[in-house]
Structures are given as C-alpha cells and as structure tokens.
C-alpha cells in the first residue's frame, strides 16, 4: 500500500470519518502492523480512554447435538447416540449455575447445537429456571442461528420466537453463528444454517424488540481480506439501521478459527499477527459499534492482552466453562479468575472495569490496587516475577 493511502486513512481516522471497503482491505494488507494498531488504539482511546471491560459470566452449553454440519465445528454431534454427544436435562443445566452461587456470575451465556428434537418449551423453561435461581441474572442466550432454527422448527416468526424467549427471561443475544457472511465462503463452510441475511434479520428484529445483541466473525480459514471487510461493513450497515431502534449491537467479537479435529484441519490456524490486525481493522471500520472484544478463549490471554493496545476495549469475562473452543483444540484455559482478568488489564496499562452484560458499570477497579497477593509469586524481589495461577 502506498504511504499516501495510509496518510489518507490516518487523516480520516483523526477526523472521525468513515472508512471505505477499499481502505479496510488496505489496512488488512498494510505491512506495518504497528501503524495499523496505533490508528486503532487512537479510536479505542477516543471512545473509552483506558477503561477496559470484563464481566463475571458463566458459559452453559446444554446440547452439542446439531442438525447443522459446519465444516469448522469440532463441538457438534449429529445424533444423541454419537460418541461425545450430550444433552443436559434442565436440572443438570440449572445445576451449573447453582454450584456457582457462592460467587455468582452476573450473566449466563448459552450457546447450543441445533437439536432437532428438543421442544421449544425446553428452552423457555431453561431460562425460567435460571431466573428462579438468581432473579437478577442476565440471560444472554441463543445465537441468531439458533433463533432462525427455532423459527423454522416450531413454525414461528423471529418476532414470535424472540418475544416468547424474552417473556421467559431472555435478556440479549450473543453474536455467534455469523462466521463469514459472504456467500462464496458461507456456502462452503456452513451452507445448511441461517444465511447472512437471515442472521442479520434476526438481529434487526431483536433490536426492534429492545434486545441488545453482539456480533462475531470467524476468521483465518478460507476467507480473503475482502470477505472480512464485506462482513464488517454488513454489520456496520445493520448498526446504522438500528440506530433508531430501542437496541442495537453492543460489541463485535472477532473469533479466530481453530483447525484441530474438524473438517478444515488441513488449514493453518490464524496467527497472533492476524489476531491483532483483525482486532485493529475491526475497530477502525466499525465506527458505530461501541465495543470490540479481544476474546481470550479464542486468541489466548496473552494475545488478548496485547489486543487491548490494538483497538479492543473488552476481554469478555471469566467464562467458566467454555467447551466449543476447547473441542476445536484451543490451548486457552476454560476459565480465568476475576483477579487474573484484572491483572491482564492492569499490565496493559488499562483500568479494569467490571460491567454487566449491558455495559453498566458494576465496579471500576482502582488502577493502583494490583491484587498481586492473589498470584503465586516466584521471586518477589524482582517485583514482576509471577507464574500463572
């Protein structure tokens, strides 16, 4: 990319002007990762200063039995009887929250396979049961792909599905299932689930109903930079539409492809450089989405921490207990303690802010109170010699 192109982009970023498709592609191709990172950091600090968000959340997957056949997925099983298949009873699902009630999460995040035989009442009762255990819990449940599946499976409109789930306690939608919107890619990696238009329509309807949502992008497999930019700009257009709705996209989460054990295992995994560049370009293109998450499960805690200097302002949460990336071979831990998240953020020179799902501040941690005692220390004399807790 000629320097003049970066000069133009730099001027537009400083002026708060919107970047084009070609400029997005140019940023993905630009050889100087740190220059791209600096621009993204400028926007990140303009929006959020040093504040970096996380929450205390519990991840529950109630079934991995799935009618879909996404090439990249190592989590799903076709039939209940397949090795490794599971479907929790409602009591088993609720138990996952009950055992955490001594240190309760503020959010339960539910993502599942598209089970062909569970009744809709199972999902409604799942939400009601979580609410009975902890009435102020925020339920961020069911991707747009699941909502589309429910609508088709149970003969309802998106609005009907979302309204019934909201009545049962649903608070917002997670962003999974977006993968890559462009049909050249989507038809090859996940051709039998919701299309891009259907995914976006679910979010559009959710926003009209006052349900906030997140969005994702699975990157680093067969897609091109042009496909990534196309994906980001479709989300930006959706967010423009939702600006007059009672709710909108809250956060964008780039998800790194993990190839182990799935139908695309011949592909190399995306690298740390790709992770950071994707965070940065996302921050620069999605000028109307408030938050960019460095999802530590997907990109490891270390890269996620570095990502806090490349445009990201959110590390997601404590997660306990994610299995989808684990099935795909992720070497990230399945949970981080709150103090570990706080440390990651502080070591990045940022101010940790515990939030709820809707980005209301629960607690702003003082920048000087590093909870060092919470970590095993190998050599305290050297001040920073810590080992993972």
């Amino acid at each position: 990319m000629p320097d003049s192109t970066l000069d133009v982009i730099t001027r537009k970023v400083h002026a708060g002007e919107r970047l084009s498709h070609d400029e997005g592609v140019a940023l993905f191709r630009h050889p100087d990762l740190l220059a791209v990172g600096q621009l993204a950091n400028l926007v990140r600090e303009r929006l959020h200063g040093d504040r970096t968000y996380f929450n205390r959340n519990l991840r529950v997957e109630v079934t991995n039995v799935c009618a879909g056949s996404c090439l990249f997925c190592s989590f799903s099983r076709r039939e209940d009887a397949d090795p490794g298949a599971f479907t929790l009873t409602l009591d088993e699902a609720w138990r996952q929250l009950e055992v955490r009630m001594s240190d309760p999460p503020s959010e339960v995040h539910v993502v599942n396979g598209l089970h062909p035989r569970l009744p809709f009442s199972y999902y409604e009762e799942l939400l009601r049961g979580f609410k009975r255990i902890k009435p102020d819990l925020h339920l961020k449940c069911f991707t747009a792909v699941e909502i589309h599946f429910f609508a088709r499976q149970f003969g309802m409109t998106y609005e009907q599905v979302l309204t019934r789930l909201r009545d049962a306690g649903l608070g917002s939608l997670p962003g999974g299932g977006a993968e890559i919107f462009h049909p050249d890619v989507r038809s090859r990696i996940s051709g039998d689930k919701a299309t891009a238009d259907e995914y976006l329509e679910v979010h559009r309807v959710a926003h009209r109903l006052g349900l906030f949502t997140n969005a994702t992008m699975l990157y680093g497999h067969i897609e091109t930079f042009e496909h990534r930019v196309d994906h980001l700009l479709r989300l930006r257009a959706l967010q423009d539409e939702s600006s007059s709705a009672p709710a909108s996209l809250q956060a964008f989460i780039p998800l790194a492809f993990h190839p182990a054990g799935d139908g695309m295992k011949h592909l190399p995994a995306p690298t740390g450089v790709d992770d950071l560049r994707t965070l940065a370009v996302s921050r620069l293109l999605l000028d109307n989405v408030s938050h960019i998450k460095a999802y530590w499960v997907s990109m490891t805690p270390k890269i996620a921490q570095v990502g806090l200097r490349f445009g990201a302002d959110d590390l997601d949460g404590t997660i306990v207990h994610e299995t989808i990336y684990g099935a795909a071979g992720s070497t990230s831990p399945s949970a981080l303690r709150e103090e570990q998240l706080v440390r990651l953020i502080r070591e990045a020179g940022r101010t940790p802010v515990e939030r709820d799902t809707l980005y209301n501040v629960v607690r702003q941690h003082p920048p000087e109170a590093l909870p060092e005692a919470a970590f095993p220390v190998r050599d305290r004399k050297a001040d920073k010699h810590l080992v993972p807790g």
């Binding site: 740190l34 270390k302 070591e347 050297a382 010699h385």
Partner: protein, 169 residues
C-alpha cells in the same frame, strides 16, 4: 509510514534514543533506556522494528532443533519471568533490540513464548525464533505465510545439520 512512526516516537519521548541508536551511540542509548520501560508499547515496538529493519533487514530466521552457540551477535530474550503478560514479553523483546548490539540476532524461544506471541515478537524487534524440538514448532504452512503477514519479510528455516527450507518474500 515513517511519518506516522516519527509522530509516535515524538509523542512518546523516544526521538532522543532513536537518534542515539541511529548514530551508533550505544552508551547514550543505555543512558536513555529508562524511557523504554514506560513509553507506549506500540511506539517502543515501532522503534525496535525500525532498528531491526535498518540493521538486520527483513530476513526472519527460524531455528528448529538446532543448537546454536550464543555468539556475541545473539541476544536471546528470556521472558519466563513475565510469562503471564504478553505486553511485558513484547516490551522486553523491543528493549533488547533497541539497547542490544548493532545488527544483533534478537531471538525468542518459541516454546517459551508460544507460537502466537513468537510471531508477534517478530514485529517488535525480534529477528529469530528458536524451537528446541521440531514438535510444537511452527508448521511449514505457517512458515510460508509469515512473509505475507509480516509485510514481505523472508523466512529462512534452519534444521539440524543444514539449512533445509527457505521461503523468500
């Protein structure tokens, strides 16, 4: 790009140390090095990357299962004591480049920092990644795509006994 980097260096107070490094005044660099511990990490990384480009060029060395004597031009960066912090790792690599000998082979241990961080370190002043064993090292598909991701840098892989694989940008 240079203008952007220059602006970042100026805003972070790094221009004096950058100038000292360019003039080869390593004692002066050492005197000014304290600023590297607190300056913006992206600016420190940009300076380290500039020093690497000017003094070493674009060749990335990947040593797999190779025992290399630590010669005077090799700076092996140990990050074991900051292993919980990706940013601390990168700052240490960048400081090693900026304060190290001219045209040093700044090396990170891939097994120690992990493959994702190892590649990122190449953008913060490192010029070599070493792997004690082949197991767990970067695979060939990954290696071949490094030049693309790093903006046209060439990768040369060293296996025991010979230079076995090279990919040019």
């Amino acid at each position: 790009v240079s203008a952007l980097v220059d602006r970042a260096l100026a805003e972070s107070g790094l221009l004096p140390i950058a100038e000292a490094r360019r003039r080869g005044e390593l004692a002066r660099v050492e005197d000014l090095a304290a600023v590297l511990e607190t300056a913006d990490i992206l600016a420190v990384g940009a300076l380290a990357d500039r020093v690497r480009a000017e003094e070493v060029g674009d060749l990335v060395g990947v040593l797999v299962g190779v025992e290399h004597e630590p010669g005077p031009d090799v700076v092996s960066v140990s990050v074991a004591d900051v292993s919980t912090s990706g940013l601390a790792m990168l700052r240490r690599v960048a400081v090693a480049r900026i304060t190290g000998p001219r045209a040093a082979r700044v090396r990170v241990d891939g097994a120690e920092v992990g493959p994702l961080m190892a590649e990122v370190a190449l953008g913060f002043g490192a010029s070599e990644i070493s792997w004690a064993t082949v197991e767990g090292s970067l695979d060939s598909k990954h290696l071949e795509s490094i030049p693309v991701r790093l903006g046209g840098r060439a990768v040369r892989v060293f296996h025991p006994g010979s230079e076995e694989h090279a990919t040019d940008a």
